[in-house]
């Protein structure tokens, strides 16, 4: 049973897909056409990548007339950074203890 974590990592392991997601994070909502123009891959390929990103909860779509606009769901990345944040906190606390110990130690 893949976790949310696994799904996000697998989804973003593809460089083209990751580039599309990064672009949406950086530049905000865009249409498939606009993404295609800047990614250098075909429109069906872009649509397919967007479908995978959507399935992973990383992007959402909004229909307006005949156009579909895609935007990033940055909150979806939370499970991914959790490990890093937790471990950073852990090590900060342990190194505080190390510094206290060094003050108590003989030279």
């Amino acid at each position: 049973m893949p976790t949310a974590h696994d799904v996000i990592l697998r989804t973003l392991a593809d460089p083209t897909r990751r580039a599309i997601f990064e672009r949406l994070c950086r530049d905000g909502e865009q249409t498939v056409g606009a993404l295609k123009a800047r990614s250098g891959v075909s429109q069906p390929a872009v649509s397919k990548h967007l479908g995978v990103l959507k399935q992973a909860g990383l992007v959402r779509d909004r229909h307006e007339g005949r156009q579909t606009h895609y935007s990033a769901q940055p909150g979806a990345l939370a499970p991914l950074v959790e490990w890093t944040i937790q471990m950073t906190r852990f090590w900060e606390r342990r190194l505080d203890r190390l510094e206290h110990l060094l003050k108590r130690m003989d030279q």
Binding site: R10, L12, P15, Q73, G75, T84, R94, L95, L101
Partner: protein, 143 residues
């Protein structure tokens, strides 16, 4: 950076510490001192030595010494096996000591991956580390 590092997540914590590297090295390598700041252990500063770190929460980490360069670099594996795959972790912890005029710059880097994810990371390679560096900013942004 080797392929493995590029495929992983890493945590880096750096400190300026007003003591010489020799003193910090003792705290990093003598079991009774390690116990005071990190965890109970049966560590020995010998490459290939296998040991455990026992956390206050009851967890036990499986470790193996990888690098011992006295007063400079200490590296060991830091693996955690859990019945629930999501908590499994394989990682490597490396301490690097650099003398400064005021004492020592201590750098702790932990690089980790989950075994079942290694293959999934295959396509990522370069750019991955940089990408992770940006993630926190992205996540901090309001929806």
């Amino acid at each position: 950076m080797n392929d493995r590092a590029a495929e992983t997540r890493s945590v880096v914590v750096e400190r300026e510490i007003p003591f010489p590297p020799e003193k910090i090295w003792r705290a990093l390598t003598q079991p009774h001192l390690i116990a005071e700041w990190l965890m109970e252990n049966d560590f020995k500063p010998a490459v290939g030595h296998r040991f455990n770190l026992r956390g206050e929460w009851g967890g036990v980490l499986d470790c193996e010494v990888l690098v011992v360069e006295p007063n400079r670099t200490l590296s060991y594996t830091w693996d955690f096996t859990h019945a629930e795959a999501a908590y499994n972790l394989k990682s490597v912890v490396t301490f690097t000591l650099t003398p400064t005029h005021a004492g020592t710059r201590l750098r702790m880097e932990q690089i980790g991956f989950r075994p079942d994810q290694k293959q999934a990371f295959g396509g990522a390679k370069a750019g991955w580390q940089q990408f992770f560096a940006k993630l926190e900013q992205v996540v901090a942004r309001p929806e």
